[in-house]
Subunit: 215 residues, 2 copies
DNA sequence: ATGATATGCGAACAAGCGTTCTATGTCAAG
DNA sequence: CTTGACATAGAACGCTTGTTCGCATATCAT
């Protein structure tokens, strides 16, 4: 049974997370026996026993005598199950600056990429770019990958960011460190060496929040 | 049965909307008999009959012999921007086989990764692995990346897959092509050359569906 | 010791539930 | 009219699954 202080016993906790995962994966709550095997509890009666306790603790609801008649009480299932639609603003290659859209452009984007909120945080200022070509190999980014960027945000040392190098007229994704008048640009690929550019010739255009590769 | 033109017969339509409503209200799919009474169909065999037709028409999936083993197929819910929770099954390095969990292990996973359904499709058979170390560099995958895998699926030529090489006792992610008795393994990194292994010493352990890098 | 309470195990029961088989009906094609 | 594909009923069968009960063990205050 749930302890007096509101804590859950270990098997109860196990059951709860098992049910949650099971529902997420199967769209159907588990049976008592599935819980039994899934959690290593040794008998159906024990599962039943713990379920009663969990019901008393208001952590789940049960429909009597119904197979799979379990419903996890919502407070847990939370906000996490949310999707952010990130507008797909265009293409990033090596030879042109990264688009940094304003609010209007953002709103007008036709395509968007669906991202679970847990991966990227707040939706504000996010936009997505499709990578064309192999020029981002040293950032471990391949042709066709999707890069999720966040704009209007301070780039801190060590952030992976899109940098446009005005003297070479190309853009690149690197980890950025300010070192006086220079910028140290470090490839994401640990087998490659960092290099330095004059800060005057570098425009930081956005921070990389996430990279996604569909195969 | 579904008519040749793709239209649904009236009882089929009824069943479909009944299931949808039922799930919304109860968080659990209905049983055959509940469908029977709910739609006024006069026998369980008729319900079963129509369900088979709907399954053939790809409008729902069924788990055999499982009570309430119905899942409405997603095309509808897709628009609702749904999230798939992919269980995080462990770590992939170079020096051990990739975990290929069975159903029980999947259900028991404690952590999960939230992915927008649009990125990965159906949730069945998906699991996630965290990459440790730099040994996957030639697959453009870095320490800390998350790899979404799908199990129990035929790997086709050109698929990016996890391969365990028994003679070297290491696992790797490569594009796989069958060439007679050999397997051609092509690094995802276009600057690197493919190589060949004896098919007997290679176990294909799963298909890579998606790679995610949070920064 | 003693008994109350929480916990654990296994088996058995009964209701729940998917499946299947037989019989009947409908209707268009041959 | 016959045939065969499709649709419908009803019932029986057997696996699934929630529930319950008897019994064993452990902890702990009385």
């Amino acid at each position: 049974m749930a302890k007096a202080n509101g804590q859950l016993t270990e098997p109860q906790q196990k059951i709860l997370t098992f049910i949650t995962n099971y529902v997420e994966q199967n769209n159907v709550p588990p049976t008592i026996r599935e819980i039994q095997y899934g959690t290593g509890i040794s008998s159906t009666s024990m599962v039943s026993y713990h379920l009663k306790a969990l019901e008393r603790a208001q952590l789940l609801n049960r429909y009597e005598r119904r197979s799979r008649g379990l419903v996890i009480n919502e407070p847990h299932r939370v906000l996490l199950s949310d999707v952010v639609a990130v507008p797909l603003m265009g293409v990033i290659g090596a030879s042109e600056p990264v688009p940094t859209p304003d609010a209007d452009a953002l709103a007008g984007a036709e395509n968007s990429v669906q991202i679970a909120r847990g991966l990227v945080g707040a939706a504000e200022g996010l936009y997505a770019l499709e990578v064309k070509g192999n020029s981002m190999i040293d950032a471990l980014i391949n042709d066709g990958d999707i890069v999720i960027m966040r704009r209007d945000q301070e780039v801190r040392n060590g952030d992976l960011a899109a940098v446009f190098l005005t003297d070479r007229n190309e853009s690149t994704l690197k980890r950025v460190y300010r070192e006086g008048k220079r910028l140290k640009l470090k490839p994401e690929n640990p087998t490659m060496k960092p290099f330095y550019v004059d800060a005057r010739y570098a425009q930081i255009q956005g921070r990389v929040v996430c990279v996604i590769r569909k195969t």
